[in-house]
């Protein structure tokens, strides 16, 4: 009996008579594919969505950075690489590189060792006040780096609560501050995965006779491995490029490559050395980003996710695992996170004439030789941060949208992956280099006769460059989690590409936008590296004012710096808290 195929293969009404293209062996490589072509308008829209951020990045990141790096290697119009040999043979350079790696390594180790128990307690267990504790733990991450520096220094200087330990200006102080700053990155990244980890694998191991410790070692930690690796490489990145905190805490003895670039540029005016150091930092950053990217790819593909927040169980102190987690996390939260912050607030209330609000009153009048009061600077900060956040949301949102596509063609897929990696670069490339690059390149951007250097917009643009990767990293995982079949089903229901984008992708991405907004705002508000170059003397931002006050002698100036730090911290934490409220439960990014 023949196969009863019902349709005749040749139909008189067939609009495509004759041999069909692609049917049968073609003999010359890959067969041609046929299908509905993407419309001209849709292609143009996606092209614009990819090109707009690329232009932004090229003009406001690649060009200024290339300008600075170029100054190090071009002498008298010719390529001159002697700067490398010169700078790389200086003992000072190797001391700084060694310090950077040691600080970042120890900071990462500390954050992971303390953060993993914290992730367990805050995401796998239930206890009263867990929500508040989760929110509190996030505060240090969004605090401006200068504020973190000030808080630790006020604690450790002579006359501070822990002044007797002699840690002021020490290596240990820097590492502690780095752990303080990055603890939340580990807790949130690892906790996010731990929360969704299917508990049945652990239950199966227990049923096979494994002790709780053995389950942790052989089942849970390996499953969390990608998240821990991803968090660790991010923390390493943040530590290796730390600027404000290290500048405030390190004094003359300790620094990172980033602070060294700043010192070489502003104090020694040695642009060549700064350029070589920028390249050194770029190498370290790219290596760390590559590791982070690989680890992240594995996290996103991680299987065996089940359950949900409902699987969290009450803390049992008699369980040795829980006891360790409770002790470690209590000590960390109370000793490392809360103490510097509380101390900062208390110390800001102490004046040479006893306790009072004098330091805060001083915020309303210009201090010392500054042109503006701290309150005016706070206004400038907020206005600039609003501009920067809008810019970062538009650019970062477009990048996330483009990168979340999975095109069919290999070349297009590679291009998308390249775009993804490209927009991570500003996370690690020295903000100092970006800021200084703006100064030397924005006198006539793109040959246009406008001197952007005198425009307050420039500060906002620089802060947006720093904030874009945060927006991408927050929105992208949410968009990637959209099942491609959701878009397919919308199309089969008659939705045109624009409606699919609006009703599927944007509807889902909106849930992460609150969080992205908060992170971008916090990053802009606290940005110090680039802003320190670009803020005009007549309207500095609040972090710049704090740093200047710290550099001047006198108890009044120091007190005002503390009060201004409290103001900046409260401003940042408050705005992030409001933005987090906008977020719907269950949505959120990689951190």
């Amino acid at each position: 009996m023949p196969v009863t195929a019902a349709a005749p293969t040749v139909d008189p009404t067939d609009p495509h008579p004759g041999p069909r293209p692609g049917a049968g062996p073609t003999g010359d490589g890959a067969p041609r594919r046929r299908g509905p072509r993407t419309g001209w308008g849709v292609r143009a829209a996606w092209g614009a969505a990819a090109v707009l951020p690329l232009v932004f990045l090229a003009v406001f990141f690649v060009w200024p950075v290339a300008e600075i790096v170029g100054r190090g290697f071009v002498a008298d119009g010719r390529l001159d690489l002697t700067g490398f040999g010169d700078v790389l043979t200086r003992p000072r350079t190797w001391r700084v590189v060694g310090q950077t790696l040691a600080q970042a390594g120890l900071g990462t180790l500390g954050a992971v060792l303390l953060g993993v128990p914290g992730a367990y307690l805050l995401y796998r267990c239930r206890f009263p006040g867990r929500g508040a504790l989760r929110a509190f733990v996030t505060i240090p991450f969004v605090l401006p780096t200068v504020v973190v520096g000030v808080a630790f220094r006020s604690l450790l200087v002579d006359g501070g609560l822990l002044g007797g330990l002699g840690l002021d200006g020490s290596f240990v102080a820097i590492v502690l501050a780095l752990v303080f700053f990055n603890y939340a990155v580990v807790v949130r990244t690892v906790g996010g995965l731990w929360e969704r980890l299917d508990p049945r694998a652990e239950q199966a191991a227990r049923a096979l006779g494994a002790s709780p410790w053995r389950v942790l070692r052989t089942v849970t930690l390996p499953a969390l491995g990608p998240a821990i690796a991803s968090a660790a490489s991010l923390v390493f990145l943040f530590c290796a490029t730390a600027f404000g905190t290290v500048l405030v805490l390190g004094g003359r003895r300790y620094g990172t490559v980033e602070t060294e670039i700043w010192i070489q540029t502003t104090q020694f005016l040695d642009l060549r050395a700064a350029a070589v150091l920028s390249v050194v930092q770029l190498v370290v950053v790219v290596a760390a980003l590559a590791l982070a990217g690989r680890a992240r790819a594995r996290t996103e593909a991680a299987p065996a996710l089940g359950g949900g927040a409902a699987d969290a169980r009450p803390v049992r102190l008699r369980d040795p695992l829980d006891a360790v987690a409770v002790v470690v996390t209590t000590l960390t939260v109370a000793g490392l996170l809360a103490l510097p912050l509380v101390h900062l607030v208390v110390r800001s209330l102490r004046t040479p004439r006893g306790w009072g609000l004098d330091n805060y009153a001083a915020l309303t009048v210009p201090q010392d030789t500054l042109a503006v009061s701290a309150l005016q600077a706070a206004g400038t900060s907020v206005r600039t941060a609003v501009d920067a956040t809008v810019l970062a949301l538009v650019v970062g949102g477009l990048v996330a949208l483009v990168v979340s596509r999975r095109p069919r063609r290999t070349a297009a897929r590679r291009a998308v992956a390249g775009l993804d990696a490209l927009f991570m670069l500003p996370l690690g490339v020295s903000a100092v280099t970006v800021g200084f690059g703006f100064l030397v390149s924005m006198d006539s951007p793109l040959g246009l006769p406008v001197d952007l250097r005198t425009s307050p917009v420039l500060v906002a643009v620089a802060q947006a460059v720093v904030a874009v990767p945060l927006v991408v990293r927050t929105v992208l995982p949410v968009l990637r989690a959209v099942d491609p079949r959701q878009r397919e089903v919308a199309a089969t229901l008659g939705a045109a590409p624009g409606r699919v984008l609006r009703t599927v992708d944007l509807a889902v991405a909106l849930r992460a936008v609150g969080l992205a907004l908060g992170f971008a705002f916090a990053a802009s508000l606290g940005e110090f590296g680039a802003t320190s170059f670009l803020a005009r003397p007549q309207d500095p931002t609040l972090p710049v004012v704090i740093f200047r006050l710290l550099g001047r002698p006198g108890a009044e100036n120091y007190g005002a710096a503390l009060a201004a730090s409290v103001l900046l911290a409260a401003l940042t934490a408050g705005i992030v808290a409001v933005c987090e409220r906008l977020r719907r439960p269950g949505a959120g990014g990689a951190w």
Binding site: V3, A7, G22, R33, Q486, T492
Partner: protein, 356 residues
């Protein structure tokens, strides 16, 4: 014959894959008919469905509706609805928001018309009054009902169903298959239905197309497909478990084979071509209980290998001389020890004839 869907010589190939997922398939679905695409997992049936929907590009062949090729028509203008295995409801919309998603723009904007149509569709799928429920609170079966209502809302000229019931448990699956058939008939929807479950295909479809390794093996109505499978491959996939060569008349043959041929000839349900093959489904042999030695007239016996219970009836796995291992039926409650020899008689209703 250019009415409805025509699939001609369609080839679908994934980059990097050695063999094409769909290797030249011809199939037509006339208006108003429901055709099931039946095959084991990985046979290319879902790829064919996606190609018809416009979600996979064709490497060859043509997809046409009423004689007009739709290959260059974008997915959202084809008017082909699609129902996924897991429904793919939009979690950020409630039930009514999901169902109304695909309504034509005018009907979507007119509140009264929209609500009337949504209510009508929810009645149709048996979920009246669920408009405001969040889709996260629905059970698996309810989700598929909502997904069906949503897919039917734009009145697609063709509905594609990709294993819509496979994620459900068996009892629910069997009930929903009947409901699905009723809804498709009531709305006179033309449908192409992908499944790996033959019972489901037979329950829902007017015609069944059996697919394996990217090709169609046979397209027929359920009864004809069951009674006259085109090949051993089709028969094996439908659940036939043993094959017996029909002996030449007069040639010596084992008693079991002679009993089968005689039963089929007497019932005249299947052809018995000389040199052909008989395909045996479960129940081709029935245990004769309490048969003393020598009482089985034709002398057909088998050695019991194992016993199992299927919906209360006893099924006996027996090794029959000259046939092989088959599942024989036994009366409810009947039992014996493995290794026992039992008497059997042949039942023509579970036997099909194949061309040699």
């Amino acid at each position: 014959m250019s009415d409805g869907l025509q699939v001609a010589e369609v080839v679908v190939r994934y980059p990097g894959a050695a063999a094409p997922a769909v290797a030249g398939v011809d199939l037509s679905v006339p208006t108003g008919e429901v055709v099931a695409l039946l095959g084991p997992s990985g046979c290319g049936k879902s790829s064919l469905l996606r190609a018809v929907a416009g979600l996979e590009p064709l490497c060859g062949g043509d997809v046409a509706w009423d004689g007009v090729s739709v290959v260059d028509v974008p997915v959202h203008r084809r008017g082909f609805g699609l129902l996924f295995q897991d429904g793919q409801l939009f979690a950020h919309r409630d039930v009514a928001g999901n169902v109304a998603y695909g309504l034509p723009t005018a009907a979507r904007r007119d509140r009264a018309a929209r609500e009337a149509r949504v209510a009508e569709l929810l009645d149709l799928v048996g979920l009246p009054g669920t408009q405001r429920r969040a889709v996260g609170t629905l059970s698996g079966g309810e989700r598929q009902r909502v997904a069906l209502a949503r897919a039917l809302a734009p009145r697609p000229r063709l509905l594609l169903l990709d294993e819509p019931l496979s994620a459900l448990d068996r009892a629910l699956r069997e009930r929903l298959a009947l409901d699905l058939r009723a809804v498709l008939t009531a709305t006179a929807t033309t449908a192409l239905f992908v499944t790996h479950d033959q019972d489901e295909a037979f329950a829902v479809a007017d015609r069944v197309a059996v697919m394996a390794a990217g090709r169609l093996l046979q397209v027929a109505e359920p009864a004809e497909l069951w009674g006259r499978p085109a090949s051993r491959e089709v028969a094996r996939f439908l659940g036939y478990e043993a094959f017996v060569l029909v002996p030449d008349p007069g040639a010596a043959a084992p008693p079991a084979v002679r009993a089968l041929v005689a039963a089929v000839a007497a019932a005249a349900t299947a052809r018995v071509p000389a040199g052909g093959v008989l395909a045996l489904a479960a129940g081709a042999f029935v245990v004769v209980p309490d048969a003393g030695p020598g009482t089985a007239a034709a002398g057909v016996t088998g050695t019991v290998h194992a016993l199992r219970s299927r919906r209360g009836r006893t099924e006996v796995v027996v090794d029959v001389d000259g046939v092989g291992r088959v599942s024989a039926l036994a009366p409810a409650g009947w039992t014996c020890a493995p290794g026992t020899r039992v008497a059997l008689h042949a039942d023509a209703a579970a036997v099909a004839g194949l061309p040699g």
